[in-house]
């Protein structure tokens, strides 16, 4: 590279730094730093009244310093692995249901005339105009035993001779609210992806003799994989950490890992173990995403 070209590049580099600097500092302060604090906290003892036990204590008999006890505790009982698996299954189910529901909708929007598209996207994000909690509490009313939905479901079950069920305070209620809350996060990335597809590709496929199913399965679907992956990530990961929905709509068995972590900080006053659970969750998610990405690339190559 000539020195002239380098001189020309210098201001460009400065601009790059100036633009990426603030978000970088923000992430450093509010993501990396807390992450490091969390890792350190996981190796310490809980304080008597909450918080952390001191690193150094005047009285050597009081707990202080670093320890592996939270990790030992985590692996000492299968119950924690069990709750992880359960949470992953709920997140997986939510993601799949969201995908199945969002795909046709995103396709419909992407293939509508330009004018109507914006309105439809607006309708998809409209629920965000009201508070998340209000929308979840609304499900309490919708699913309550006096509500039309419960009456209808139990009426049908009654005809079939099956005992009535309670919709509220059940795994079903948790799943339905999870899907409801996260659906737009699946629709939007899918739509953004599908909208960009070149219609000529489908015409070409048709000219080559592909029927509607083949045009979808061999052209549209493989091209939409990046949209599916980003949508799935946007649904899967928040669902894993969700604690409000199981708290409000869940029954006696609907504890997820998000609830467990929240409980360590707000009830049990055990910051080290809460940190350990968070770290194990992050590791599990990374592992999962890595496996999914691996599968994704092989599938992409095949297509």
């Amino acid at each position: 590279m000539s020195s002239r070209a380098r001189k020309l590049l210098a201001p460009a580099r400065l601009t790059k730094w100036a633009v990426s600097g603030p978000p970088f500092v923000f992430l450093l302060l509010f993501f990396v730093l807390p992450g490091v604090i969390m890792v350190i906290a996981s190796f310490r003892y809980p304080g008597e009244f909450g918080g952390l036990a001191p690193l150094a204590a005047a009285d050597p008999n009081t707990l202080h310093g670093f320890t592996l006890e939270t990790y030992r505790f985590f692996f000492s009982d299968l119950i924690y692995t069990e709750i992880f698996i359960k949470s992953f299954l709920v997140a997986l189910a939510t993601t799949l249901i969201c995908l199945v529901m969002a795909y046709p909708l995103a396709l419909l929007i992407a293939r509508s005339p330009k004018k109507r598209r914006d309105l439809m996207v607006l309708l998809v994000i409209l629920p965000f105009a009201s508070s998340f909690l209000i929308r979840v509490y609304a499900w309490m009313i919708l699913l309550g035993p006096q509500a039309a939905l419960s009456q209808l479901a139990n009426g049908l079950l009654g005809v079939l001779g099956i005992a009535p069920v309670h919709l509220l305070f059940s795994p079903f209620a948790v799943l339905i609210a999870m899907v409801y809350v996260h659906l737009p996060f699946m629709v939007l990335p899918l739509y953004t992806n599908l909208e960009k597809h070149d219609p000529n590709l489908l015409d070409a496929a048709q000219d080559c003799g592909a029927n509607a199913w083949h045009r979808f399965w061999r052209v549209t679907f493989p091209l939409s994989l990046p949209g599916i992956f980003s949508g799935s990530t946007l649904v899967f990961i928040p669902v894993l950490g969700m604690f409000a929905i199981p708290d409000i709509l869940g029954g006696t068995g609907d504890m997820l890992v998000g609830n467990l972590i929240k409980e360590q900080f707000l009830v049990t006053r055990d910051w080290p173990f809460g940190s350990t659970l968070s770290i194990m969750l992050t590791l599990a998610v990374l592992l999962f995403v890595w496996i999914a990405a691996k599968l994704g690339t092989t599938r992409g190559r095949y297509a």
């Binding site: 809980p46 009244f49 309550g144």
Partner: protein, 354 residues
């Protein structure tokens, strides 16, 4: 620019002057003092009461631990108060300025949390008991004087899916421990496991672990039986009456005993107005002022002088003012140490997952 700045400074100074009257900072539970009581105190002291609220002890402790300050008075429950005392966060009371302290029933003084009441003055209490739809219980022939109705499958069969229990590790374990004949403060792991098994056996019959919406569910008639707080059940009954329901919501203290949560007024060490705070405490010790809260939310009242101002239907309610025989079985929850907290949390996770 300079001119604007000066105007701004002047404005700040003026507003500072306007705020110069005394302000008492009260950090209290949600809805735990009547508006009339506050207004009367403000008039009497020629000061202003600034209120901040919390909905559970842990929230209050966490906020203070995170450095919140400037509160003159806090109203923690026994175990949270004990924790504040041990953290050296409270100011000892000058009892010479609390002449009405004699109004408090001695049964509520000198607790294990604050021997000799060096720091605290009892304010009000809540019981954790059984609340129920009286008509439904009669119809189904279920007993209402024992925890068995919450834990025994032979009773639970009749109310499957119509029961909620508190979403609280300590409270639910306390109920189970009491039913098994142990102390609510028992920390022997084998007893905890027995309680866990009892809970897991009963769980399939319960609709939910619930912390607050059971009030509404009782009122509407969706839920017939709850393990809940006396104030909440009182509220549910008021709401049911107001809505003209054909049933009444009642409460009873199980014969095996129950948890009593005594909330006390304490002075925070860093409160800027300790004199005014003492004045407030003595004001609240006046029977009339104290009774207003009980009349409003159905809280238990440790103030003997308050009894004559309390509505008779509340004063005679054994689920708010239990007879001496039931009172003997009430227990206040002690704080657990960190290892016990961790073990209990694991037991709780098992309960939730099984």
């Amino acid at each position: 620019m300079n001119h604007n700045l000066r105007a701004l400074l002047l404005l700040l100074l003026l507003s500072g002057n306007a705020l110069a009257e005394d302000v008492l900072h009260l950090y209290n539970w949600n809805n735990y003092i009547s508006a009339e009581t506050v207004a009367r105190f403000e008039q009497q002291c020629a000061c202003r009461v600034e209120q901040d609220y919390y909905s559970d002890n842990e929230e209050m402790l966490a906020k203070l631990a995170a450095g919140a300050s400037g509160y003159d008075i806090i109203v923690p429950t026994g175990n949270a108060m004990e924790s504040l005392i041990r953290q050296n966060a409270l100011r000892p009371l000058d009892k010479s300025r609390l002449p009405r302290l004699k109004n408090i029933n001695p049964a509520y003084l000198d607790t294990a949390f604050d021997p000799g009441n060096k720091y605290s003055v009892p304010y009000a209490y809540t019981l954790t008991l059984i609340g129920y739809n009286a008509e439904k219980m009669r119809e189904l022939g279920l007993p209402t004087d024992t925890w068995a109705v919450i834990f025994e499958p032979k009773y639970l069969e009749k109310v499957k899916g119509r029961i909620t229990v508190l979403d609280s590790q300590r409270e639910l374990m306390a109920a189970a421990l009491k039913y098994l004949g142990y102390s609510a403060n028992d920390t022997i792991e084998a007893h905890w496991k027995q309680a866990r098994d009892l809970i897991i056996r009963a769980k399939p019959y319960w609709a939910a672990f619930n912390a607050s919406s059971y009030i509404k569910e009782l009122t509407v008639g969706n839920i017939w039986l709850v393990h809940g707080y006396s104030n909440d059940i009182f509220q549910a009954n008021l709401d049911a009456k107001k809505a003209g329901r054909k049933f009444t919501i009642a409460a009873s203290v199980p014969k095996e005993g129950a948890v009593l949560s005594l909330d006390s007024m304490v002075l925070h060490k860093n409160g800027p107005q300790p004199g005014l705070a003492l004045q407030f405490i003595d004001f609240m010790l006046d029977g009339k002022n104290s009774a207003e809260l009980t009349n409003l939310i159905g809280s238990g009242n440790p103030n003997l002088d308050a009894m004559r101002y309390i509505k008779p239907e509340i004063a005679q309610d054994p689920a708010i003012f239990p007879d001496p025989q039931h009172r003997a079985h009430l227990e206040m929850l002690r704080d657990l140490d960190r290892n016990q907290r961790r073990i209990l949390s694991r037991i709780w996770t098992e309960i939730k997952l099984r």
